[in-house]
Symmetry: C2
Subunit: 401 residues, 2 copies
Amino acid sequence: MEALGIIVEYNPLHNGHLYHLEESIKLTKCQYVVAVMSGNFVQRGEPAIVDKWKRAEMALKAGVDLVIELPVVYATSTAENFAYGAVKLLDSLKVIDCIAFGSEEGDLEKLSKIADILLEEPPDYKRALKENLGKGLTFAKARELALVKVTGDESISKTLQTSNNILGIEYLKALKKIKSSIVPFTIKRRGALYTSLKLEGEFASATSIRKAIEEKGIKAVKNYVPDFTLKILERAFKEGQGPVYLQDFSPIILYLLRSGHPLENIFDVAEGIDNKIYKAASMTNNIKDLIKLTKSKRYTESRIRHILLHLLLKIDKKLFKEFDGPNYIRVLGFSEKGKTILKEIKKKTELPIITKVAQYKSKIEDSRMFERDLFATDVYTLAYKNFAISKLDFFHPIIKL
Amino acid sequence: MEALGIIVEYNPLHNGHLYHLEESIKLTKCQYVVAVMSGNFVQRGEPAIVDKWKRAEMALKAGVDLVIELPVVYATSTAENFAYGAVKLLDSLKVIDCIAFGSEEGDLEKLSKIADILLEEPPDYKRALKENLGKGLTFAKARELALVKVTGDESISKTLQTSNNILGIEYLKALKKIKSSIVPFTIKRRGALYTSLKLEGEFASATSIRKAIEEKGIKAVKNYVPDFTLKILERAFKEGQGPVYLQDFSPIILYLLRSGHPLENIFDVAEGIDNKIYKAASMTNNIKDLIKLTKSKRYTESRIRHILLHLLLKIDKKLFKEFDGPNYIRVLGFSEKGKTILKEIKKKTELPIITKVAQYKSKIEDSRMFERDLFATDVYTLAYKNFAISKLDFFHPIIKL
């Protein structure tokens, strides 16, 4: 049995994702595809446009055999934490042979070399990094220039500009760090950059697709997503279950900040960013403005969104220290073929497999991380117009295709 | 100097209020009018339709000389607490000679007799009350029947049906309890009942006016409110500062409940109502539905709204025990004539007068109650579309006419 692991968000699943999936299967010749997917909140530091079950359905329709949830603790954190959580989870399934990820770079060697340096931190790299930080550069810039210096390869600067390269490097770092036997592959991304806001070309980015949905409605994106995505989104919106935006949680986040809710236990809060956030919360009741008022070179929009989401979802930074990766396998959906691989995982993994959420307490020894997923769903459904019950994780059936 | 005290909400100020004010002045022949007014949240357990400064402006335009804020702790509580806070505050000004309140009853003697019994609780009343409670009647019903029994006056049942009679009785109770020298008067209310939902007749209720604004827009109420009210509301809405509804705080309240935020420190929470509220919060994300799912004969909509507001505004029940009425005089606005009476109050009162909020910490010994007012404003402005800054109490000028 040859199994391919992919790490996805499918927010929503579009033609570019479909291309990546098909190319990955072609390249790795794997028989089975297992996706680790963000749940109701995603790495951009936002809620997903529709919930995790609807996106799991898209994944299965696209040809994925098994969809496993990436715990919200990792899904809403830095690229490094996101990648570590996802790779560790894939590795702990004990059945994955390869990972294939999209990158703007497309050259695995090059990404791997960077990952090696970042992981091993040889003395000349460390020295250059320290020097650059001393000059007052941001960490990202200092790291980039140190990498260029020790490799003599100036093209690395460009490589580090795009988010899929950065994520790819983090996947490789994580694989090396945990000494995984999983073999990595990369597929060169085609079409728009991840962050592109324009809906154009053969493949549009998920960002531009969400933007078009928000501004022009679902019909506007029909050339950029598969039919099944369109249908799933249309059904969801009709039922009042999405589209969900960060804006929907604006009153809650602002309320927490105006209440003086502490930020000190949140990952990545340092250097007075907490006071800056509190101050901004006293100047506006709009989360977009709050982010604009707070961001800086050092604290990018995405870092601030992560902080605000961790506040909203009550994610304590100590979870990152006290857990070495996900300690459970939460199944969101599977295909007929997926049953076979799920059986195989059951035989081999040491982690509890959660298919019936009601049993989680007896199955997961330390369930603090899992309970963040449950709470994230309770918060997510506050943005629904219909069927906005809580504890949806307990009631929602696993998606089967 | 003869000064009249009135207790108001002006949510918004309408023709019936104007009539009450004019009649009260005629009846009491007072030279000055001081209003104790709810702030940004009102006794129905809701936010006011526009903020306290805009409503203070209405009061001054109507002929009130001085507007003092009723602390939110009292303004959003039971009729008994509301009345006690307001009467205690008026009494502590040391300049008020009379109070005039509207009532459906109109007969002060009758209301006063009821107040006496409720305050003194003679043995036969107590016995009848206990008996009725033993039969499983609600407290309100048990009290009503006990009053009828000891007075032999069956018309008391009808008297206790309407909210202004109930408030009036509470004002009288409070005056007696603190042995105030203030002389009470009552004006028979004309026109619609407080709770009437229909916009009709000479005087429409504030409830029906708010409903008409919500459903049909501001123009629909022009025959029922003075011109200045209409202008103030129009200006507020144009600036994105209202109309504010309980619904606007729905996500926050639901979030707090789904987070399992404790309810045990909230006034009036007993008999398992907390579990009922939590359960309802898991079934809907809409506060109107939540209230419908939770209310019962014993826990009326209004009691539940009070609980939800105290959760939202972080009002701990111990404040009611640890404070014997308001411990500060917060001035919201005054007329030219109001300056004279304010000077007089300054000479006579023992409470700190707050005209500059920035000085509150040095002026108020125990400022916990005042800080609830500040926080209530921070929460209130979350519902604004514009100028939604926090700490508005520090910046907003006193209204002067």
